[in-house]
Assembly symmetry: C2
Homo-oligomer: 247 residues x 2
């Protein structure tokens, strides 16, 4: 954080306990409260934020629920592991490789697939006519059992017919594309935004209401510039940061 104002807004449509929970989460992520350290006692936090102790307790309860804190009667409240994974985005963005070294177990699950007519956005990105059939793959990425991404990918249905089966079998976009003669692909463009998690995000990513998701909209192309995949991915901001590298 910059100015470290540590202040909160009333009548904002966001409950005080949630604002405080968010700030604590941020303080922890930034390292103000290291792993296993004790948080200041509830009374001290209440004074610092200018709220009632019960409001602090609500914020802490939410973070305990999220698995960020552990409260022990008589001892204090302690910080559990809250390391954010750093997901590299660059010319060769690959899920599993990207998190190598940060999580021992990582995989992608195919949640659903469908064939649908391309909407304007998908069609333009893939260089197809609007309305042409495309295959949509809905996937979730997990690292050490924790959901870290939720993505939708669109592919030309004629060129990549059966990629859904390949994906289900291999659990890898890269491997699936390889079956269709795509030995290599590059990230052509990435546009980034952020918003509140909606109900679908909450369910898919196992988040608590009020969480924030990072959203990337990207196009992958073959080395000779032919677009093969359009995707929209969502990352829980509390678990992932995006590290931009050579692109």
């Amino acid at each position: 954080m910059i100015g470290q104002a540590n202040s909160i807004e009333r009548r904002s449509g966001v409950a005080l306990w949630r604002q405080i929970a968010d700030q604590l989460l941020h303080s922890i992520a930034v390292g103000d409260f290291p792993e296993n350290a004790a948080l200041p006692p509830e009374v001290a936090l209440a004074e610092r934020y200018g709220v009632n102790r019960h409001t602090i307790r609500s914020a802490i309860a939410a973070l305990v629920q999220e698995g960020v804190l552990r409260a022990e009667q008589g001892r204090g409240t302690f910080v559990l592991s809250r390391r954010r994974l750093s997901y590299p985005i660059g010319a060769r963005t690959r899920f599993s490789e990207g998190l190598q070294g940060q999580a021992s177990e990582r995989h992608i699950t195919l949640l659903a697939s469908s064939v649908e007519p391309a909407n304007r956005r998908v069609a333009e990105s893939l260089g197809l006519a609007k309305g042409v059939d495309v295959i949509r793959l809905e996937t979730r990425g997990e690292a050490d059992g924790m959901p870290v991404s939720r993505a939708a990918g669109w592919f030309d249905a004629r060129r990549f017919a059966g990629i859904d089966a390949a994906m289900a079998e291999t659990g890898s976009i890269t491997a699936s594309l390889a079956r269709f003669g795509v030995s290599d692909y590059l990230r052509q463009s990435t546009v980034l935004s952020a918003r509140h998690a909606d109900a679908a995000d909450l369910a898919d990513l196992d988040l608590q209401p009020g969480a924030i998701v990072l959203v990337t909209v990207a196009v992958n192309v073959t080395p000779d510039g032919q677009p093969i995949q359009f995707s929209e991915s969502r990352f829980p901001a509390e678990r992932i940061e995006l590290k931009l590298s050579a692109l």
Copy 2:
């Protein structure tokens, strides 16, 4: 958006009217409701979100307050301009150039400057010893009179003594660095995250409580790899998207 669930969460610590306001904002940004188009009538929206009409009215009132919507009795509620600027991030990220063509007027204001001992993060990034003096520049970027970024930049105080004055005079980081013999610089690394705007963000960026900010932490280096600037920038997610390019 992906599944387009358009649903909301109760008892989440985020008021329903704010969740709905956020979703409407997103729908508008994505183009579901084009500029000058009429929103569905309040009764229809109430049914669609499964809430009372008064709750919809609260959400709309907030967006009217933010200047996103205009309500006219007897006619309907209409979308005002809600174009998000696209801020390019790449090897040569420069504020003014980046928004060229998207905003006719754009400039950086120096809000404050100070000399302080480098903390661990700044010291490591700049290759200095912890505690060495660094200059901190607090700036705000504006496009067409609207705040679009709020940044803190840190520089080695010995090498760049007086850069605060240069910044105040030129209104440009690039021009200021040029005075110290830095004719060119590159973006070495960028780490990206998102969080709720805190009180300082709300004031600096003229945001409404509950808004989301994109946060970039970056290091700029000279062409031969010498780090010269460490920075942390915040962008209002409702006004800016980040477009990642060759980095």
